[in-house]
Point group: C2
Chain length 320, copies 2
Amino acid sequence: VAAESYSVGLDLGGTNLVAAAYSSKRGILVRTKVFTLAQQGPAKLLNRLAGEAAKVIALAELHPSQIKAVGLGSPGPLDAQRGVILDSPNIKGWKNIAVAQRLGAKLGRRVVLENDAVAAAIGEHRLGAGRGSRLMLMLTLGTGVGGAILVDGKPFRGQGTWAGEFGHMFLSPDGPAIKTGQRGTLEGYASATAIAARARVLMAKNKKSRLWALAEGDLKKVSSRLVHQAFKQRDALATQVWRETAAWLGLGLASLINIFNPERIVVAGGVMLGGSELLALATRAARSRALGRGTGCKIVKAALGDDAGVIGAAELGLRP
Amino acid sequence: VAAESYSVGLDLGGTNLVAAAYSSKRGILVRTKVFTLAQQGPAKLLNRLAGEAAKVIALAELHPSQIKAVGLGSPGPLDAQRGVILDSPNIKGWKNIAVAQRLGAKLGRRVVLENDAVAAAIGEHRLGAGRGSRLMLMLTLGTGVGGAILVDGKPFRGQGTWAGEFGHMFLSPDGPAIKTGQRGTLEGYASATAIAARARVLMAKNKKSRLWALAEGDLKKVSSRLVHQAFKQRDALATQVWRETAAWLGLGLASLINIFNPERIVVAGGVMLGGSELLALATRAARSRALGRGTGCKIVKAALGDDAGVIGAAELGLRP
């Protein structure tokens, strides 16, 4: 029987920084959540990361020497192998930083860096909806659309630092313009941003939709969450947007099945928080298009919610 | 220095069966090509495969005991690990056949079965346009569109027997109907069949196209080869078809780059035999869409032509 071992997980987001002390046998021991406050600059952010790590170690009544390593999930692009942040559009100044080395020096522990989407996938694979799957894809429908590929629980990185940018898979040669990227991608159809944008376009021609009341008459307040709420209230406009989103998502899922023949696809992100109808509709659409109806592939909703990233980061800290 | 070792490669197609005796140091020693004659049934086909293997061994002046193993590339779906043909729409009766075991018994040698597209990819990786690449994708534009994924020269098989069905990647929610499969796939836009079909539709509205003369007034004679020929003669209709094909192919290549971040994509098949213009146009379209312009990925034309499959099959015969 292996002895219990410990790590720290850090999940860095544009808004929040989540930290956890973690046990190989008992999972999360202690969890904290603070604001990222990226505007204070990268030096202060490194201090805050070190501070939160020290805090969860103390709260879990561990000694730093008991921590095998600290896993950090961060938005990319980054070089996980070298432990360097290359760029990070959502965190100001978080660019060209040898974060594994610098944070490691502050903490006196080894620091393992990983892309936040990959970290979340590892979390779902270890303790969530991806458990036991040998080839797992993860699709995160949030502000953007992220992706990850895990083979036996380990990230598949293409030729170098990244792979699995499923949000940038093309589902059409054209499509609505989006801020980050090209027309016609899955991100342009199924991200929270895209869902809200499509609803806004339709609302301009339809003053009767419930969405107007839910958004208090302010187009800026329209979000994928509100669209989902209006859909639950059987609003026709929101139903149209939701069904279109499911159809595009289904098309993307069918392509992923035909390209990878995966065992499981785990779908996560803010768009999924409202309920399971979107995924049920999308799965039906995907099966009607996939080779052999994709019978070998389970399409499931993520199980760990916001904790997937910090669990995955902590798991990386336990690995040799 | 490793000693020279020998294998036999068999490349089974709907029309032709190619066989080769192969050396680890000198490549193809002897090569034969006969008709497949699938209509005679699977028992005769197994005999023909065994006969061709024996013939190339004799022609190379080898003794059967010197042959490490026989590699067989066959159209699928098949189970490479178990050595069983599951189905094969293009070869009559070639279905539910334990070919590795049955052919192995006839020859007294181990037989390794592989999907023909994967075998061709292994050939290109070993001796052709994929040499030295650690993550290589292959795309074969023929009657249909096939694909393969090689990691360090070994096939990536998804959760089981297959992966890399890039022909069944969706580039649009609709699109022209095709015989095998769904609307809107890469196969429906960039296979030889799809290219000819699109030209025929346009020809009905354009009696001035050179294609009418090249096809001797017979729509049935229109092929992707003739469309390419008319394109070279600057025919407007053929140019339109060729440019549209390149745009769709470019969209598919951009998706593959964003999904895999591969080192190399090798494009093969009958559609590529005419020349390099299609791939040059498609590559430009792909780079305008791919993340970071796909600078890390080389997109190249296959180098081994019809020999890729038999070389790959023979290479598999050399492996442990």
